[in-house]
């Protein structure tokens, strides 16, 4: 508050206070003079002390001190015998004068101390109210700008200007604390364990530094701002999460209606073309063959569609994995049934390590991986090549590999093969959308495993891993 008294207005008020003190003394003298002969001297002393007391109460210590001295002088001059002599003549009332002065000064001191205390209490009360107001403003703030606005409002009441740097960065706080530009005080906004930003404060009048009391007030402000920023941060995070959920729900709804709407015409196409192709002699041979081609193309289109939908579901996390504990052999058997039934001369050599433990996986998705890998192995292999599927146990993983002999991966492309729409041989006549390996990668990674490709002696291999984890016990039944 000290700066409040430094304004020109305040200093004129002070001069007026002193003049008023002088006036009160003269007034007292003027009132008492006509009664001089009828009153005892102690009564007049009391009148003057009353005047000093009134001045001290209303105008403060300085005017009261002036009034004390003036009262003593006026009393001595006008009322003490001999009249109209100042501190001359007999000294019989020296003690009276001395006591009068002393009482006046003590009164001035006491009253002004009480007044100072009252002022102090008022200042504290104002401070508390302002802090409460800024806390209320910040509690309602919706973003960093509104927090800054509330902080600035509070600071400008104190002759300070402030700026707010909002950042989720702990290093910022260290920099702020170690960084002292003259005239700028910086306060890290620490909420919980995280620093949400920095409040930089400058006095409007740069000749005045930051007083201790101001420092404490700004610290209080900084912690309020930090809390407000933290609240805003979490509110925003919650809102984002809610939006994300709504987004996922929409995406999932779009995907399932897309899947339904596209599958229905494809089902019709496959069914009708197949009816014609299997028409048992009702169509000429080449027309029946054409119908067969239409059917196969529609089937291929369906495969592509479901690959795309799988991919979209996996990428959007809208299809949770349905993992269960099961023997790996089971999914190998069902995958082989799907992969080998496609063509007549498709045969896979199986090499599963004996006594594989139960593995925790989504059978539908891993079947998809195995089918895609076997399909690829057949598609890119030379006729008559040996395709093999092997599984062996490592310390923390089950490692599965699908290999063919005879056709290696093109050098330099191995890394990029698992990207979307990447194919082994550009513009090749081999059908496929380049989605197969990308889906395998998405599925395996969703299981916490990894997938990679490599060329081994005379052939190409894709290997993937599934975490072993700790399978549940299977208690054998009591034999009768």
């Amino acid at each position: 508050m000290s700066f409040a008294f430094a304004t020109p207005f305040a200093s004129t008020r002070r001069v007026a206070d002193y003049l008023a003190a002088v006036a009160v003394c003269w007034l007292t003298a003027a009132v008492a003079l006509p009664l001089r002969d009828r009153l005892d001297l102690p009564d007049i002393v009391m009148l003057f002390l009353l005047a000093v007391f009134v001045v001290a109460t209303l105008l403060g210590r300085g005017p009261a001190v002036v009034a004390s001295f003036l009262s003593v002088a006026l009393f001595d001059y006008y009322f003490d015998t001999p009249h109209h002599l100042l501190f001359l003549g007999d000294t019989e009332h020296v003690l009276t004068l001395a006591i009068m002065l002393a009482v006046g000064l003590v009164t001035a001191q006491l009253v002004s101390r009480a007044a100072a205390k009252a002022d102090d209490a008022q200042a504290r009360e104002r401070e508390t109210r302002q802090l409460y107001e800024v806390a209320r403003d910040m509690a309602g703030a919706r973003d960093g700008t509104e927090v800054l606005e509330a902080a600035r409002h509070y600071l400008s009441d104190r002759g300070l200007s402030g700026n707010l740097v909002v950042a989720d960065d702990d290093r910022l706080a260290d920099r702020a604390e170690g960084h002292h530009v003259t005239g700028i005080a910086s306060f890290p906004l620490r909420a919980g364990t995280k620093v949400r930003g920095v409040l930089a404060v400058t006095p409007l009048d740069d000749r005045i530094g930051l007083a201790d009391t101001q420092h404490r007030a700004v610290e209080a402000l900084a912690s309020l701002a930090a809390l407000a920023l933290e609240r805003i941060h979490y509110a925003e995070a919650a809102q984002r999460a809610e939006l994300l959920v709504a987004d996922e729900r929409l995406r999932s709804a779009v995907l399932s209606s897309l899947s339904h709407d596209l599958r229905t015409p494809l089902t019709t196409l496959v069914g009708l073309a197949d009816t014609l192709a299997e028409g048992r002699g009702t169509l000429p041979a080449d027309a029946a063959e054409t119908a067969g081609v239409i059917r196969d193309q529609a089937q291929a289109m369906h495969k592509l569609l479901s690959d795309l939908l799988y991919m979209a579901r996996l990428k959007s996390n809208s299809a949770p994995l349905r993992r269960e504990w099961q023997p790996f052999e089971d999914v190998v058997g069902s995958s082989l049934r799907l992969a080998e039934n496609v063509g007549p001369d498709r045969h896979v050599i199986i090499d599963l390590a004996p006594d594989l433990p139960l593995i925790f996986f989504d059978a539908v998705l891993i079947e998809r991986v195995l089918c895609n890998l076997l399909d690829n192995a057949f598609k890119y292999a030379r006729p008559g090549a040996r395709i093999s599927l092997a599984a062996r146990l490592a310390s923390a993983y089950l490692e599965v590999s699908v290999c063919n002999d005879g056709s290696e991966f093109p050098a330099g492309r191995i890394e990029s093969m698992f990207g979307l729409f990447v194919r082994g041989t550009n513009e090749s006549s081999i059908p496929g959308g380049g989605l197969g390996l990308a889906i395998c990668k998405a599925i395996v990674e969703a299981h916490g495993g990894s997938i990679w490709a490599e060329n081994c002696v005379g052939g190409a291999c894709v290997r993937f891993t599934l975490p072993r984890l700790t399978p549940p016990a299977v208690v054998s039944e009591d034999e009768p």
Partner: protein, 233 residues
């Protein structure tokens, strides 16, 4: 078409799909009646007493699973479900409600005809009374009356749980049995969390009874749904 040929009810809202399904049925010498909604389908099923129902799960008025539940109250007619969604929970719900088999769209005519044949054969078998105590598949013979299992003439020892599981499969040939259903029947309804037991025991049965356990020909896995026992590969 004579009155003796089996009657199939096709409940499907897409007319073009109905068209080729019915044409395939006629090739199997079946009569077909068509319905485009659950309400119409239930009505026809009650009036015409079909020998087989082919049901699309995505019908406009109500859920296809509701159809199965209502039908099962008064009829044991075999139900073949067509599911547009490759969504295992939906298939499981339909099978648990009482459907016998499913086909995921799109499907080939050959596949459809094979399923129809298998289901009709089974409903005829049910009509002819019990199938008897003697069953045979591959080189395996099972005598349910005497609890004896033989493979290539030699007796095979099965534990009680293995035997119960085999009986469940054997008495529902061609039918998809969901994991839940098999666990309920073999371990009891309180053992739903024993999914891995079922899979381990199916593996043991294959080891004991299948010629090539890695490529089973009789005890087939319907991935994500359950198992199917196939009498003839």
């Amino acid at each position: 078409m004579n009155a003796q040929s089996p009657l199939t009810l096709v409940v499907e809202d897409e007319p073009q799909i109905r068209r080729f399904v019915c044409s395939a049925l006629r090739d199997e010498s079946c009569r077909a009646s068509e319905a485009g909604s659950v309400a119409q389908g239930l009505d026809l099923a009650a009036r015409e007493r079909p020998d087989l129902v082919i049901l699309d799960l995505g019908l406009p008025d109500r859920d296809g699973v509701d159809f199965i539940r209502e039908l099962r109250v008064w009829s044991a007619v075999p139900v073949l479900v067509l599911s547009a969604r490759a969504d295992e929970p939906e298939k499981i719900a339909a099978l648990d409600a009482g459907a016998d088999d499913y086909l995921t769209k799109p499907f080939g005519i050959g596949e459809l005809r094979a399923r129809v044949r298998a289901l009709l054969r089974r409903s005829q078998m049910q009509g002819d009374g019990d199938a008897g105590a003697l069953h045979a598949f591959g080189d395996v013979e099972v005598d349910l009356a005497r609890h004896i299992v033989r493979r290539a003439g030699a007796e095979v020892h099965l534990t009680p749980v293995e035997y119960n599981l085999l009986v469940q499969l054997l008495t529902n040939p061609g039918r998809v049995l969901t994991h839940h259903r098999l666990i309920d029947k073999v371990w009891g309804p309180a053992s739903r969390e024993k999914g891995h037991y079922l899979r381990v025991y199916v593996g043991r049965l294959r080891q004991k009874l299948e010629a090539d356990p890695g490529r089973p020909r009789h005890i087939l896995t319907e991935t994500g749904v359950g198992y199917r026992f196939r009498l003839q590969p």
